[in-house]
């Protein structure tokens, strides 16, 4: 590692899971060393963060002292050893550009919120749209339904792809979804068709959000639901039906986009601060930024 390299870690504290990514910024390039996502599942978020960071560092053979910057995003303000905090859309935009250099938009679909972000080639956020204070159509919503159907997260996508006659459903409540699903099952509708119907209605929302944000070319799906191939297919179908040239992609590290983006911005700031001669005591920067 050259002495000009900067190591930075990004921590994305979400409502369902915590994502951590470790990057090396060589000035010429950024390299993702290692990243992980872990569900919080009723544990203290700070404990999960601490253990994830330790795991990552040890996997990379590093210690905290090697880090030039600890950047948080999402609800990351609860992390007391951070160097600085970046807002979610700023980081997702950066992470998305890193994962897919052709993407000019991304849509972050997490457990509770969805946000569509339009950005330029420097990852500057040009426009965005977010969902409101209702969790219908969110990751949590899909999770509730699939649990009732006896389908695990990993199976959702593949099963949905088998649908032949999707049962369209209007936007339904994330909590009441179970009852609606009970009702559909009782009407003899297959699991695949139920899931696909739900994927389509979710896809409709996301596409709308993306279009409203101004996306036109390539969009990278970030956040947990990027792993759902059924949802990806539904988004593509929705776009194809509307003859929309927007291209939807996902990436195996999509879920880490926020964490990666935070880490990259962290390294960027670390360099800048260094130039300005500011020393980076943990927690100091968050004050300096305001």
């Amino acid at each position: 590692m050259s002495e000009h390299d900067k190591l930075a870690i990004g921590i994305d504290v979400g409502s369902a899971s915590i994502k951590v990514a470790l990057i090396r910024d060589t000035q010429a390039d950024v390299e993702l060393l290692v990243g992980r996502s872990e569900r919080t599942r009723r544990r203290e978020a700070t404990d999960v963060v601490a253990s994830l960071v330790e795991t990552l560092l040890s996997e990379a053979g590093l210690t905290r002292e090697d880090l030039a910057y600890v950047a948080t995003t999402g609800e990351g303000e609860i992390v007391d050893f951070r160097t600085g905090h970046f807002y979610g859309m700023t980081t997702h935009a950066r992470g998305a550009r890193f994962l897919d250099s052709e993407a000019d938009a991304c849509v972050d679909i997490g457990a509770l919120h969805t946000r569509a972000i339009l950005m330029d080639e420097r990852a500057k956020v040009l426009g965005y749209r977010m969902t409101s204070q209702c969790a219908s159509g969110s990751g949590q919503f899909l999770e509730n339904i699939s649990r009732y159907l006896g389908v695990t997260m990993a199976e959702i996508g593949p099963i949905s792809l088998q649908a032949d006659e999707p049962e369209r459903c209007s936007s339904i409540c994330a909590v009441l979804a179970e009852t609606d699903v009970i009702n559909m099952v009782s009407r003899g509708i297959s699991t695949a068709n139920i899931l696909k119907g739900i994927h389509l209605s979710m896809a409709g929302r996301y596409v709308k959000l993306l279009k409203a944000a101004g996306a036109t070319r390539v969009v990278l799906v970030t956040g947990g639901l990027a792993a759902d191939v059924g949802l990806m297919a539904a988004m593509r179908e929705t776009l194809a039906e509307a003859d929309d040239p927007l291209e939807v992609r996902s990436h195996e590290h999509s879920v880490l986009a926020g964490a990666i983006g935070a880490a990259i911005w962290g390294a960027f700031r670390a360099r800048k601060m260094e130039r300005l001669g500011i020393s980076l005591a943990p927690g100091a920067l968050s004050e300096a930024r305001t």
Binding site: S170, S171, K208, K211, A212
Partner: protein
């Protein structure tokens, strides 16, 4: 209000065929207006100034009607989506969004032909604030003059001399000059008088038709069916001979039904047995119009009076267009339309309907779009209930946004509501 096209077969009688033809003709006339050198004006239904426009040989285009037609033909969903994509909020009136979406999609009218661009935007601001915004939005789209008639609200439950004067002054000093300038014709008051005289004739017949519902069984449905009846008079025909003829035929038909003791025509034919007589407040839903209607007819429910059939103007208290007082009576017409009445007057009107039409129930369809109608309906519900003692019902839907029409939910409420009336009646509680 009126439809030229319903995808499914619907039972009709002669007047309905006639009405359908009239509306279709109107739209094709509009489509050809540019080539024929005819001028057109965009304006609104409540308190519309049709006679004045016809006196200048100008055809009205009514965006609300276009929106409801789009709703009935299943196009509104995409139109609304388009408008929302352009940054219109989910929260606002869906008529506006439907109209904007239609405009963006080529402004194709209900007959499949393109509607003409306006030569004048005549904003009659009566009973609804959204109208102001709607035409501000349209003004961004069209390079044409716009003129506005501000109709004051009947806040204290009556029309004062100052209100009338305010409207007449605007008509005389703003609207008429704008029309003169657009058409190059001079204002001809005698011609207006002739038109108004014909209006009054048609209005007499319309009132007779709507009041026929006082009979048992009612020969008409005054809400779903009523929508068809008010079509010609509130859109482009008031003041024409066609309208006079249509309303005469309609009245004869209805009188014949009374003689035969028949119930109303419904989508599937005729209603066999009148089980519940209802008064309904609020506009209907257009995207699922037939399905909605059938939720009533399936249970034998007939609407005997509705406020929606008074959106264009209210004739209940004896108002008729008056050739003797042309501008004044136009002003009174505008001032008197239903959503321009204050809430106490609306409550009183509904309570009167319940009594006069011997209704078993009083139902509100609250539409998400329309604050003008909806804000305050829950209080109206309670007031009417207390004053009349008949049970009130409350359902929620929207005008043209199918996302807000939850069939299961509405059916559930209606079902409970009808069973409740039934049960009361079984115990001799209601009449």
């Amino acid at each position: 209000m009126s439809t030229t096209e319903d995808p499914r077969a619907v039972a009709k009688d002669a007047s309905q065929e006639r009405q359908k033809r009239m509306i279709a003709d109107h739209f094709s006339r509009l489509a050809r207006s540019e080539e024929r050198g005819e001028k057109c004006v965009y304006t609104f239904v409540p308190g519309n100034l049709t006679e004045l426009l016809l006196a200048f040989d100008v055809a009205p285009v009514l965006p609300e009607i276009n929106a409801l037609q789009s709703g009935m033909r299943g196009l509104s969903k995409d139109y609304i989506a388009l408008a929302e994509k352009e940054g219109h909020s989910e929260d606002v009136c869906t008529y506006v969004k439907c109209d904007i979406g239609m405009l963006r999609s080529g402004n194709i009218g209900p007959t499949g032909e393109r509607l003409p661009d306006p030569d004048l935007l005549l904003l009659s601001y009566t009973g609804c604030f959204t109208f102001l915004k709607w035409f501000e939005l349209l003004k961004q789209e069209y390079d044409c003059p716009v003129t506005m008639l501000h109709v004051p609200y009947q806040a204290d439950g009556r029309i004062t001399d100052e209100m009338r004067k305010y409207v007449v002054d605007q008509l005389r000093d703003k609207i008429i000059p704008a029309l003169e300038q657009m058409t190059g014709k001079a204002y001809d008051e005698d011609r207006l008088r002739e038109l108004l005289a014909r209006s009054a004739r048609a209005e007499d017949d319309l009132v007779a038709v709507l009041e026929s519902a006082k009979h048992k069984p009612s020969p008409i449905d005054a809400y779903f069916g009523g929508v068809y009846y008010i079509g010609p008079i509130f859109t482009a025909f008031r003041g024409t001979q066609e309208a006079v003829d249509y309303y005469r035929v309609l009245r004869e038909e209805v009188e014949e039904r009374i003689r035969l003791g028949k119930g109303p025509i419904i989508p599937s034919g005729e209603l066999e047995q009148e089980k519940y007589r209802l008064v309904v407040e609020g506009p209907p839903n257009w995207t699922n119009f037939r399905q909605f209607w059938e939720m009533f007819t399936d249970e034998g429910a007939v609407v005997v009076a509705s406020t929606y059939t008074k959106v264009g103007g209210v004739y209940d208290d004896g108002f008729r267009h008056d050739p003797e007082r042309p501008l004044e009576s136009l002003a009174e017409y505008c001032l008197g339309c239903y959503t321009n009445l204050n809430l106490p007057s609306r409550v009183e009107k509904l309570a009167n309907y319940v009594r006069d039409y011997e209704a078993d129930g009083f139902l509100i369809n609250s539409v998400k779009s329309c604050n003008s109608f909806s804000a305050g309906q829950l209080m109206m519900l309670r007031e009417v209930e207390t004053r009349t003692g008949v049970p009130g019902g409350f359902i929620e839907s929207d005008l043209v946004d199918p996302r807000y029409f939850s069939a299961a939910n509405i059916k559930n409420r209606l079902e409970s509501y009808f069973q409740m009336i039934e049960q009361k009646r079984a115990r001799g509680v209601t009449r």
